[in-house]
C-alpha cells in the first residue's frame, strides 16, 4: 500500500499542484477572493480530476499514443461540460459568481498534466486516487488563500455561503468597523499570499532537510558537538 501512500502524499504536499508545480494559477488568482468561492471551485476541480483520471485510466489502452492529447482534451471537456451544466442547474447563484472559471477548468493545466503524466501510464485505482489527491492538494491551498484573502481583505469568512445553503450566512470575524484591505481582494493579494505560502513551504522543507543532515552527521561522528543553533531565516 505504500505506493498509494506516496500518491496521496505527493498530491497533498510533496508535489502539491499549487505550491510546487505552480499549476492552475489562473483560477487561483481570479476565484480565491473568498473562502466559499475557493472551496466551490476546488470541489469542482476535484470532481473533474477524479472523473478525468478515471476515464482516461480505463480508456488508455484504446487511445492511440500519437493523438492522445486531443483525445484527453475532448474527454476532459465533456466532463467539465457536465459539471458546468450541473452547477448551472443546481447551484445557480454560485454558478453566476464562478462564471467562466468552471468551463475554464478544461484549460486548467493541473487536469491535463495529471492525465498525461499519471493516468495515461497507471492503473485505474492509482489514477483515481491521484486525481482526488491532486485535486485535494489544489483544494486546501486555494481554500487557505481564499480564507486569508477574505479575512484580511474584508474581515469576514464564509461570505456568500447563502448561495449554497440558503439558511446560513457569512460571519463577520473582525470588528464591523474594520476598514478592509482592498489590495488583498485584488489579484496582487493572491500573488502575495501564494508567494508567502510557497516561501513558507520551502522554508519548512529546508529546515527539515537541515535537521536530517545534522542527525546523519551526528550518527557518523558521535563525538562531535551538535551543530550550533542556526537562526530561523539565515540564508
Amino acid at each position: 500500500m505504500s505506493a498509494f501512500n506516496d500518491i496521496a502524499k505527493n498530491g497533498f504536499w510533496k508535489q502539491n499542484p499549487l505550491l510546487v508545480q505552480l499549476l492552475g494559477l489562473c483560477p487561483l488568482l481570479a476565484i480565491s477572493t473568498s473562502l466559499v468561492n475557493a472551496v466551490s471551485l476546488g470541489l469542482a476541480t476535484i470532481l473533474v480530476m477524479l472523473l478525468a483520471n478515471l476515464a482516461i485510466a480505463s480508456l488508455r489502452a484504446l487511445i492511440p499514443y500519437e493523438i492522445r492529447i486531443p483525445v484527453f482534451v475532448l474527454i476532459i471537456a465533456a466532463l467539465v461540460t457536465v459539471v458546468d451544466l450541473s452547477f448551472n442547474a443546481f447551484l445557480h447563484d454560485l454558478y453566476l459568481v464562478l462564471g467562466i472559471f468552471i468551463p475554464l477548468i478544461v484549460t486548467n493545466c493541473i487536469v491535463l498534466a495529471r492525465v498525461e503524466a499519471f493516468a495515461a501510464k497507471n492503473g485505474l485505482a492509482a489514477s483515481t486516487l491521484d486525481g482526488v489527491m491532486m485535486g485535494a492538494g489544489f483544494l486546501w491551498v486555494i481554500a487557505l488563500i481564499g480564507g486569508l484573502r477574505e479575512l484580511i481583505g474584508q474581515g469576514t469568512l464564509f461570505s456568500g455561503i447563502e448561495m449554497i445553503f440558503p439558511s446560513l450566512s457569512g460571519i463577520q470575524v473582525l470588528p464591523a468597523d474594520y476598514p478592509g484591505f482592498l489590495i488583498m481582494m485584488l489579484p496582487p493579494g493572491a500573488f502575495f499570499t501564494l508567494g508567502l505560502l510557497i516561501a513558507g513551504r520551502n522554508w519548512s522543507e529546508a529546515r527539515a532537510n537541515q535537521r536530517r543532515l545534522n542527525q546523519l552527521k551526528q550518527a557518523e561522528h558521535p563525538g562531535d558537538k551538535p551543530a550550533e543553533n542556526i537562526p530561523p531565516f539565515a540564508a
Partner: protein, 346 residues
C-alpha cells in the same frame, strides 16, 4: 569617475543616511509651519516601526543588529513614508506602510542594497491602492490645532467631521475641476479658472505646498554640494517634468497646468532629490541615471494628467525601477582601453 586626488576615505552608509535626514529638515520645517505638528507624530511612528521591523528581521536572518540598525537606512525610508503620506492619516496606516516597506520591499528581497524597488514607494503605492480615501486626508493649512490632529490620527477610523477640515490637494483639485468640466452645465472650467477659485492654491502651486517644495529643493541642493547625490537624477527629472508640462501648457493652456505648478506641486521636489536618487533602486551609470529620471518624470506627468490617481510619482518610480537592470546594461560606459562594442579583447 572620481576626480584626483584619488586618496579617498569611503563614506559610510551611516554618514550618508544622516546627511539625507538633515537635508529633509528644511522641507520638514515648512511642513510643520503650514500643516501643523501632526507630521512629527507620523515621523516618530514611522521611525519606531521601521527600527522595530528592521531589528526583528535582522534577528530572524541572523545578521548583526547594531551594525544595520544604526546605519540609518531604515530611518530614511520611514521619513520618506511619513513625509509622503497625509499628516492626518490614521496611525495604523503609517505603521502598516512602514512594515510593508521594511519587511516586504526591503528584506524579502535581501536587505539593504538588494531591493529592486524603492521601499517607501512600494508602501505608498500599496496604501493608495488599498485606502484611497485615507490617503487624501490633507488638512487645510492652519485649520486645526495639534490636539485635534492628535485625536484624528489616533481616533476611530471613520471620522465624518474630517470633511470639514480636510481638502483636496492642489493636484486633486485640478483633476476634479478638469474632469468634471464636461459634465457640469456651468461655464467651462480651465486650468486658470480652476486654480483662481481654489483656496488651496498659493502663488505657484498650492498654499503651503510650494514652500515645502522649496524646503526640499534647498535640502537637495545641499546634498548635491555634499556629493551625496550627483546632478544627473534630479536635473533630468525636473527638466523633463518642466519641458513636458511647459510644452503642454503652451499648446493647450486651458487643459494643462504650467511647469511651476507641476514642479512645486505634489511630491515632485521630494521625488527629485530624495526618491529617484535612492542609490539602491535607481540606475547607476551616468547616462542611465538621465534615462531613469527622465522616464520617471514622463510617467509622473502622464499619470498626473491622464491617470486616475492624484500623484503618479510612486507608480512612475516603481515602473522605472523594473527597467533599471536593462537601462544599466545598455548604458555601461566604455572601459578605458576597450572598444565600445565587440568582444572583450582590448
Amino acid at each position: 569617475m572620481s576626480n584626483s586626488p584619488y586618496l579617498l576615505k569611503a563614506t559610510s552608509v551611516q554618514s550618508v543616511m544622516l546627511r539625507v535626514l538633515l537635508a529633509l529638515l528644511p522641507g520638514l520645517v515648512a511642513y510643520i509651519w503650514f500643516f501643523g505638528a501632526a507630521i512629527v507624530v507620523q515621523i516618530v511612528l514611522a521611525s519606531l516601526t521601521a527600527l522595530a521591523a528592521e531589528a526583528l528581521v535582522l534577528y530572524l536572518r541572523g545578521k548583526p543588529l547594531a551594525l544595520f540598525l544604526t546605519d540609518g537606512s531604515a530611518l530614511v525610508t520611514a521619513w520618506l513614508i511619513a513625509l509622503s503620506f497625509p499628516p492626518l492619516a490614521p496611525w495604523w496606516l503609517v505603521v502598516l506602510a512602514t512594515l510593508t516597506a521594511i519587511i516586504v520591499a526591503k528584506h524579502l528581497y535581501g536587505g539593504l542594497g538588494q531591493n529592486p524597488f524603492n521601499p517607501a514607494m512600494v508602501a505608498f503605492a500599496l496604501m493608495i491602492v488599498a485606502y484611497p480615501q485615507l490617503m487624501s486626508r490633507w488638512p487645510v493649512p492652519g485649520a486645526v490645532d495639534f490636539a485635534t490632529q492628535w485625536g484624528i490620527i489616533f481616533g476611530p477610523y471613520a471620522n465624518h467631521a474630517l470633511d470639514a477640515i480636510t481638502m483636496a490637494t492642489p493636484l486633486d483639485a485640478l483633476r476634479t475641476a478638469l474632469h468634471s468640466a464636461g459634465t457640469l452645465p456651468s461655464a467651462p472650467t480651465t486650468v486658470v479658472s480652476a486654480l483662481a477659485n481654489n483656496p488651496a492654491i498659493g502663488h505657484l502651486a498650492g498654499r503651503g505646498w510650494e514652500w515645502i517644495a522649496a524646503g526640499y529643493l534647498v535640502g537637495g541642493l545641499w546634498l548635491m554640494q555634499q556629493r551625496i547625490i550627483t546632478w544627473h537624477l534630479p536635473t533630468a527629472f525636473l527638466a523633463t517634468l518642466f519641458l513636458l508640462s511647459g510644452l503642454a501648457s503652451v499648446i493647450n493652456p486651458a487643459d494643462f497646468a504650467g511647469p511651476l505648478f507641476h514642479l512645486f506641486g505634489g511630491g515632485a521636489m521630494l521625488a527629485a532629490f530624495f526618491i529617484v536618487t535612492d542609490p539602491v533602486s535607481a540606475a547607476t551609470t551616468p547616462c542611465g541615471k538621465l534615462i531613469f529620471a527622465a522616464g520617471v518624470a514622463l510617467l509622473t506627468w502622464i499619470i498626473r494628467c491622464f491617470g486616475a490617481y492624484p500623484d503618479g510619482i510612486a507608480f512612475a518610480v516603481l515602473l522605472m525601477n523594473i527597467a533599471v537592470p536593462l537601462i544599466d546594461m545598455a548604458t555601461q560606459p566604455r572601459v578605458f582601453g576597450y572598444k565600445k562594442t565587440g568582444d572583450d579583447v582590448p
